[in-house]
Symmetry: C3
C-alpha cells in the first residue's frame, strides 16, 4: 500500500463522515445514513472514472466501500458526540475535496490528459461527492455557500499543474503540495469566513 | 420473454407511475410529467450500467422507453383518480425498488462481480431512479423520510446474496425471494410507519 | 470549423450564461459561478456521451471548456447589466436546449441509433445541463415550471426525426429545422406564458 492509496482512503473516510453529519439534520436512520455516507464518499471519483472511461475505482477493490461504510457506522454511532451545528462537516468536506481533487489531477496526468483538463476533472471529482450528499439530504450545496469554495480548489489544482508542467516536479510531491494548499486555503476560508469580496482587488 | 424481463417491465411501469405522482405536486404538464416518468423509470438502471461499463439496458430495446412513457401517459390521464396525498407513490416506489434492486444483484452475479459489490450496486440501482425523481420534482428524497427505506433494501439484498453464496440457491429463485422480501418489509414500514427506533434493540 | 461545431459552441455559451444567471441568485463568488457555468454547459452532453458510450465530447477538445469558462467570467463581470429578474435565463436556456437537443438527435442518427431513441437522447441531452444547474443553485427546475418546456423539445425533435426518416431530408437541414422549431416554440411559451391548458383541446 502506497501513500496515495492511504490518502485516498483517508479522503473516503472524511467524505463518508461528512455524509453522516449532513444526514443527521434529516430524520434518517442508520442504514439510510450509511447509504448517504458511501454515495458521498465514492460519488465524485465515480463521475471522474465514468468521464475518463476507465473502470470505476471501487469496483475491483473492496477496501473503498468497506472504509466508507465502516466510517459511516462509526460516525453514526458517535452522533451524540458530533456537533452537527459546528463546522465539522465543512472541514471534513475540505479534507475530502483537497485529496480527491489533487488525486484526480494526478490520475489524469498519468493518463496523458492535458493539464487544463486535469484541473477541470479535479474540480468535478472534488465537488461531485459533496453535491450528491447535499442534494440527497436537502441542504444548500457548499458550492453556493458564501465562504470561498471553488476558489481554493482551482487555486490549489492550478499550483499543482504548474509545478508538474513548468518546474517538472514529480507528480507525487506536486499532489501533496496541491492537497495541502487546497485544504489550508479552504480551512482558512471556513474559519475566517473569507469571501471573494475580501480578497478582490476591486471590491464590488 | 422470460419472467425476469416481464418483472423488469413491471418495475419500470411502477417507477414511471411514481414519477407521475411526484410530478402532480408541481405545476407540470403532460409532456413534462412523462419526461419525469421515463427518467425515474430508467434512471437507476442507467447508473448501474454506466458503472458496470455494459451497454445501457434500454438503448437496444425499445420496450423499456415504450412501457415507461405509455405508463406515464396513462397515469397522467388518470390523475383525477390517483390520490396524490395517499401513499400510492411510496408503494409504487417500493415495487420498483424491490425488483430493480434484486435484478441488479442478479446482473452483477452473472457478470462475476463479488456479492458484496453486487449488494452495493443493487442499492444504487434501487434508489437511483427515485432520487432523480425527487430531485426533479423538488421533493425530499424518500431516503431521508423517517420510515425505513434503506434498511429493507439492504436486508433483502443481503438475504438474496446469502442464499446464492451459501446455500447455492439458483439465481432466479434467489431474486424472487430478495424482491418479495424487500417489497414486503418496505410496504410494512410504510403502512405501520416503522422507524429504526421501533426495531432497535437499544432504543436511542 | 463547420456550422454545427460553431452552433455547439454557441449553445455552450448560452448555457454557461444561464448558469451564471442562476448562480447570481445565491451568495456564490466568481469561481463558484464559473464552475456552475461550466457544469451547466457541458453537463447534458456529458450524460449523452456516457449513455452512448462514446468519448466525452469535451475531453479531447479544449474549446468547449474554454468557451464555457470564458463566457462564465464575462457574464459574471457583466452581472450588474444582467437583470436576474428578467426572463434572460429562460431564453438562454431555450437556446442551449434547442441546439443541444437537435444536435444530440443528429449524433444518434450518425451512430445508427433508431430515431425514437434519438428523440429520447435529445430530450435527456437538452434538459440535463439545466437540471444540474438548477439543482446546484437550489432553484426549482425549469422542467416543473408552468410554461411549456418538455413539449417544445419533444415536438421539435419529433419534427426533425420525421423529416429525416420520412422525407429523407439531409441531417444538417433537419437539425436546423429542429433547433429553430424548439427555440421558437419555447420562446413563445416563455413570452406568452403558454401552458398545456392553453393548447389542450379538452381543457382540464
Amino acid at each position: 500500500m502506497d501513500l496515495f492509496y492511504i490518502l485516498g482512503l483517508v479522503a473516503t473516510a472524511a467524505f463518508a463522515a461528512s455524509g453522516i453529519l449532513a444526514a443527521l439534520a434529516t430524520r434518517i436512520d442508520l442504514f439510510g445514513a450509511v447509504v448517504v455516507a458511501v454515495v458521498t464518499a465514492v460519488g465524485g471519483g465515480t463521475v471522474r472514472d465514468l468521464i475518463l472511461d476507465v473502470p470505476v475505482f471501487w469496483i475491483h477493490d473492496q477496501a473503498w466501500l468497506f472504509v466508507a461504510s465502516l466510517t459511516g457506522v462509526l460516525a453514526f454511532s458517535a452522533r451524540r458526540q458530533l456537533n452537527a451545528g459546528s463546522n465539522a462537516l465543512a472541514y471534513l468536506d475540505a479534507m475530502g475535496v483537497a485529496l480527491f481533487g489533487s488525486g484526480a489531477l494526478l490520475k489524469c496526468t498519468a493518463l496523458g490528459i492535458p493539464l487544463s483538463h486535469g484541473v477541470a476533472m479535479g474540480v468535478v471529482t472534488a465537488i461531485g461527492g459533496g453535491l450528491i450528499r447535499d442534494t440527497l439530504t436537502g441542504r444548500d450545496t457548499l458550492l453556493v455557500s458564501p465562504e470561498l469554495y471553488a476558489t481554493p480548489i482551482i487555486a490549489g489544482l492550478t499550483l499543482q499543474a504548474l509545478l508538474v508542467g513548468l518546474s517538472g516536479l514529480d507528480d507525487s510531491t506536486a499532489l501533496l503540495v496541491g492537497a495541502v494548499s487546497i485544504f489550508t486555503f479552504r480551512a482558512l476560508a471556513i474559519r475566517w469566513h473569507w469571501r471573494m469580496s475580501d480578497i478582490a482587488i476591486n471590491k464590488p
